[in-house]
Amino acid sequence: MKRGALKRALGIYWWVLLFFLYLPLAVVVLFSFNSINSAAIFESFSLRWYYRLLANDQIMSALWHSIVLAMSSSVIAVLLGTLIGYGLYRHRRRGLGWLIVLIYLPIVMPDIVFGIADMTFFVRINALTGWLAPGLGPMILSHVTFEIPFVALIVYSRFVGLDPTLFDAAKDLYASPVKRAWHFIVPAIKPALISAFFLSFTLSIDDFVISFFTSGPESSTLPIYIWGAIRKGVTPEINAIATLMIAAVIVAAIISLLVTRRRPQTPPEGR
């Protein structure tokens, strides 16, 4: 009887958890389709706020900045982070294992610390050289910086999961260093590269703190715009933006899940 009670309690816990995780999101999504400007009464279904969104130049330019920032920083972070991941893997047995701590640390470091540090850093560089004025340049640099550790760790763990003899086999089968990278290493870690890209992309889209401290007047991203807008109250327009972001994240998560999951078995050929 006791086990039955425990089971029921755990079942209830599961539903309560889901309730708190998803109900607030569901409310946002629901009210983004509201035909009237109210956060309390849902009158009827309408795409009114979405049309308003499309017509709002400020929002469109913030969206564009977010996408440019996320795309460019993720591509650069995947390229550079993969090199770090490979380097950590190659030298893991040379007493350099502690280096991975240097990669872990920024992941747990509060964003606000990074944001303030990046701001002072770039402002000083700008004052000295005239380069890197607040705007997309420093934003991309700082996003690349905080994304690299995530990429490096994902790639590193993929390498650790590979049979180390595969590297020997590639050498033994006439692959020069360049061919080894192209025909063995890149295809072997491809799932890790794709999921690292999607993670970087979502981290970048999602980031407010670091972007806020490094952005300039002409480079607001969506989260910065939203933060500015809600000081005047949550409008249904904001709900619409949030709904679009939820949709984008869900799509990215599904794609990355499909890629990293083992491909379905192909039926054996012939007889």
């Binding site: 020997d168 033994d172 006439y174 692959a175 025909h183 078995q265």
Partner: protein, 361 residues
């Protein structure tokens, strides 16, 4: 495939390997190779045999170019390849873990070496299909690696190496992960393939039975040194030292307390041997001990007490006590009466079957 390689074989004799003064250590304390000189003949099935840590895998990796020796010269087919990187050596390896690429299917795995060498796609496909035919795995070509059994993976690893038609094929304990039945089957198959292709095979194993079944010649390694180089029969019947004798499974080894011509005093008693020998210990192989009254020799008679006996089907294993000394004997099962535990049995050993061995490392 067979024909293509057979004609090629006539025109191009497989080269031999020469190793001179190879030394390799991984740190001051870990010496893997301690001065190895060795010549492997063209077209030979050669085995490096020894316990784990004896240096056999290091030697194989140096042949492949995956490790470099601290000292010494490696020649393959007369060319000094000591400094040649692995991807430029006409040597291929079958790895213990098979090391099949998980992102490629069976066909692309076999084709990998050819592709890296820049063989045209049509030619590549033809050679892969011929090899698949030769090694009887055509139905598997489209499969993913994780859909294969251990035995199938082993054959694909072999095909992937053979299709490149290397001068030398290296095999690093390729059968150790398989169950006994399959292993026996593949031992025979590997030997047949080697004979048909006439390729030089260098095989690494710790299993002395496997080494004897397959090899033309064996080098027994221990502590980074070659202890004995010879045919399976030489190594089994006339081991160079006590290490080799024990490694080959011999346990009837006795100290020689004094010698007088062809008479040796041992804890077992006085033994007559065939020739003058200089070893430190006497070796009596269990299958050379004759049990019963009707022995064919007139020397080396003893009375033994059967302590234990094990019925092994085609032969019977006895643990005998001769005085204080215990002795292992194998008697082939020809339907004779079996001796019971505690029974007193006369035994005899033919003088020409007794060898002496020096103390080894």
């Amino acid at each position: 495939m067979t024909n293509a390689l057979a004609t090629d074989d006539a025109g191009r004799p497989a080269p031999s390997i020469t190793l001179e003064g190879l030394e390799k250590s991984f740190s001051r304390d870990v010496i893997a190779l301690d001065g190895v000189d060795l010549t492997i003949r063209a077209g030979e099935f050669f085995t490096l045999l020894g316990p784990s840590g004896c240096g056999k895998t290091t030697l194989l990796r140096i042949l492949a170019g995956l490790d470099t020796a601290n000292k010494g010269v490696v020649r393959i087919g007369g060319h000094d390849v000591t400094e040649v990187p692995p991807h430029k050596r006409s040597v291929n390896t079958v790895f213990q873990s098979y090391a099949l690429f998980p992102h490629l299917n069976v066909e692309d795995n076999i084709a990998f070496g050819l592709k890296m060498q820049g063989v045209e796609k049509d030619d590549r496909q033809r050679r892969v299909r011929e090899m698949a035919e030769f090694i009887k795995l055509t139905p598997l070509l489209g499969r993913r690696i994780d859909q294969l059994s251990g035995g199938q993976r082993q054959r694909i690893a072999l095909a992937r190496a053979l299709v490149c038609e290397p001068n030398v094929l290296l095999l690093d304990e390729p059968l150790s992960a398989l169950d006994a039945g399959l292993r026996g089957q593949l031992q025979v198959e590997l030997q047949r393939i080697q004979r048909r292709l006439g390729m030089t095979f260098v095989f690494v194993t710790h299993d002395q039975q496997e080494a004897m079944v397959m090899s033309d010649r064996i080098a027994v390694l221990n502590n980074g040194k070659i202890q004995h180089l010879g045919t399976p029969r030489e190594i089994f019947e006339r081991p160079a030292n006590t290490f080799v004798a024990r490694f080959m499974g011999h346990d009837n080894l006795f100290d020689i307390t004094s010698r007088e011509g062809d008479l040796l005093d041992t804890p077992l008693g006085r033994l007559t041997v065939d020739t003058r020998t200089h070893g430190d210990k006497v070796l009596i192989r269990p299958e050379t001990i004759e049990l019963g009254e009707d022995a064919e020799t007139d020397a080396n008679y003893f009375t033994a007490v059967v302590r234990e006996s094990f019925y092994r089907g085609s032969y019977i294993e006895y643990r005998l006590d001769v005085g204080e000394v215990s002795l292992r004997a194998l008697s082939s099962n020809q339907g004779q009466k079996l001796h019971k535990n505690g029974e007193r049995v006369p035994i005899s050993i033919c003088p020409e079957d007794i060898v002496t061995v020096t103390d080894g490392e």
